[in-house]
Symmetry: C2
Subunit: 357 residues, 2 copies
């Protein structure tokens, strides 16, 4: 059995961190006899520069054929003034929608070794372990109609459409209920059902699903309250499920509660468990090319890949254990550096994980 | 010169906290010879119970005729299953839109006396003083079309429209630039211009306005990053301007950074400086009627009212000084209680402010 992994380094620090993660994948491939083969492709700004489009057909074909994709990050200031359709982000969004990667899993975990990195008090965040399940191929990100039109008055109006249909809500709801079943059995669905009709439907469908998962305790929370509760008492949450836009905001907020977003992986899955895996952090153009970026979120993304798309739990755990070991050894990239620790480069961190495997 | 203030206690703890704020207004009315007269009206769940509509015509007429409105809070579980058009929130939204209260000012201030209430580390939040300027009568809250429709496939789809026209963006932008001029001269506009067309227009108009306010430093931030930066380093912000939905989320997040949302007032203004003033917290049905709610956010809302709608800076400051004094005296309602302080009821807190005036 041969399985193909597509590597898409992308922009900014993407190439540096993906290089380290790739070494890790090669090593577990041998150690665990996984039969993985590797391909590479262009996406985002890198693809724009080479081919004038953020998602070349060749990349899309390779992505569709792959069992899993490892993405670094896309975007940077040099592409910020391009028209919407030509921006690096469209490469990412195009992959998500063409592969129907509707289920975005974003864990926010506080590593005990990095507890002091959080801007929150230790008692508020110690032991934090939340899973955010974000719908990724619908909602206002993809809603039609959209654009800028001229009104009769002569002035322009920008507009977007926030829409979800029952089946879209149901399938992400199932992923979230199942995640809750595997974890603490608590699911909080976040909406704005006191104002937005689309989220009234969202809430109704979540309530429907409850019957299929009687062991999971479902609650509902308005998005403004959720943004508050994440700051006030984040440990009240187990699994959170929400739409594309609210999920974008809340998952970044939750990630930052840990103080070490350079540590957090993510998975984007479709119904065939094909998946794209990427660090939660962005392309960080300010430190690109300097060899100081933290490769651990990307390395941990390969662990998620092994677990969710390749069904190789042992190899996944081996990587997670190795990462925990290098943290125990006191190795830190600049973003998670603290007094008394040992500051290392992107490559040194990657090598340390390899050695720990 | 006589000026009319409309009191709208609303639901939950609303009546209790508005009662204390009203006493404070009566007192400064005499002390500073303000010539204020007072009216009262029904809104939200209280209005639904009495008249079957969340915003009776009588209330709307009184609101239009008033110079300023003091609102407690609306909503509660007993009205949660009403159809959208009949919910308590529609009373609030109806007031905002009928009076064109497009400019929502939400300060997030850390009171030094309450520094330990925050879930964030003291060094991250000490001295925090952010002003969030939220657009309040447009965006996805009011966009048309909206609803739930049946698709050809037979399944239902919920949909809402997120729209802004140039003039709406420009007028809230001006309020924000002017607020920044009065403060630290830094304005951060929050959007999602890498994905949403409506916010590309938002960003363009903000950039246009920059020329009229050369002394203000304008920056732009994506909403997901803003949600992170508020947790990571909130003191980087001075004034934040954003649309209705993002403003709802970020202003609640920012308020919670202080740990004492029971202290935070807000103002909603139209172009004639007519305004509605309310605490940032909600109706807190769980503690309603118990006499334990914190009236200070509502009392501080009357200070904002005096400042923004009535042009009575001295009376406004007197109230703010009085609130600071009762905090110095160690008086605390349950929500801001800490060891060694003196726990007081809603009424005792109100009386203490009166005594300090
Ligand atoms: C880059 C951007 C389009 C993207 C998003 O908004 O989804 C990013 O913020 C993310 O969360 O993966
Ligand atoms: C009650 C609700 C409709 C309201 C809003 O979403 O605007 C509230 O959350 C607020 O921020 O004032």
């Amino acid at each position: 059995m041969s399985r193909t992994i597509l590597m898409l380094p992308g922009d900014g620090i993407g190439p540096e961190i993906v290089a380290e993660a790739e070494k890790v994948l090669h090593k577990v491939n041998e150690q665990f006899n996984l039969g993985l083969t590797f391909e590479a492709g262009l996406v985002g700004g890198a693809a724009i520069d080479a081919t004038d489009t953020p998602l070349p057909d060749e990349t899309l074909e390779k992505a569709k054929a792959a069992d899993a994709i490892l993405l670094g990050a896309v975007g940077g200031p040099q592409w910020d003034n391009l028209p919407m359709a030509k921006r690096p982000e469209k490469g990412l969004l195009g992959l998500r929608s063409n592969l129907e990667l509707f289920a975005n899993l974003r864990p926010a975990i506080l590593y005990p070794q990095l507890a002091s990195a959080s801007s929150l008090k230790p008692e508020v965040v110690s032991g934090l372990d939340i899973m955010i399940v974000r719908e990724l191929t619908g909602g206002i990100y993809f809603g039609q109609p959209r654009g800028v039109r001229e009104l009769e008055s002569g002035e322009r109006q920008g507009y977007n459409t926030y829409a979800y249909k029952e089946s879209e809500i149901r399938r992400i709801g199932r992923v979230a209920f199942e995640a809750a079943q595997q974890r603490g059995k608590k699911l909080c669905s976040v909406d704005k059902a006191n104002v937005l009709e689309v989220t009234v439907l969202w809430r109704e469908i979540m309530n429907d699903l409850r019957r299929e998962y009687p062991d999971v305790e479902l609650s509902h929370m308005y998005v403004d309250n959720a943004a508050m509760q994440l700051v006030r008492a984040p440990k009240q949450f187990d699994v959170i499920v929400t739409g594309n836009m609210f999920g974008d905001i809340l998952s970044d907020e939750a990630a930052m509660l840990t103080g070490s977003i350079g540590m957090l992986p993510s998975a984007s899955l479709n119904s065939r468990k094909q998946g794209m895996y990427e660090p939660c952090h962005g392309s960080a153009p300010d430190i690109a090319g300097k060899g100081v970026a933290n490769p651990l979120a990307t390395i941990l993304s390969t662990a998620m890949m092994l677990r969710y798309s390749l069904n190789e739990e042992k190899a996944a755990e081996a990587i997670e254990v190795a990462v925990s070991k290098v943290l125990d050894q006191g190795l830190r990239t600049a973003d998670i550096m603290s007094e008394g620790a040992n500051k290392v480069s992107t490559r040194e961190m990657g090598e340390a994980v390899l050695a720990a495997l």
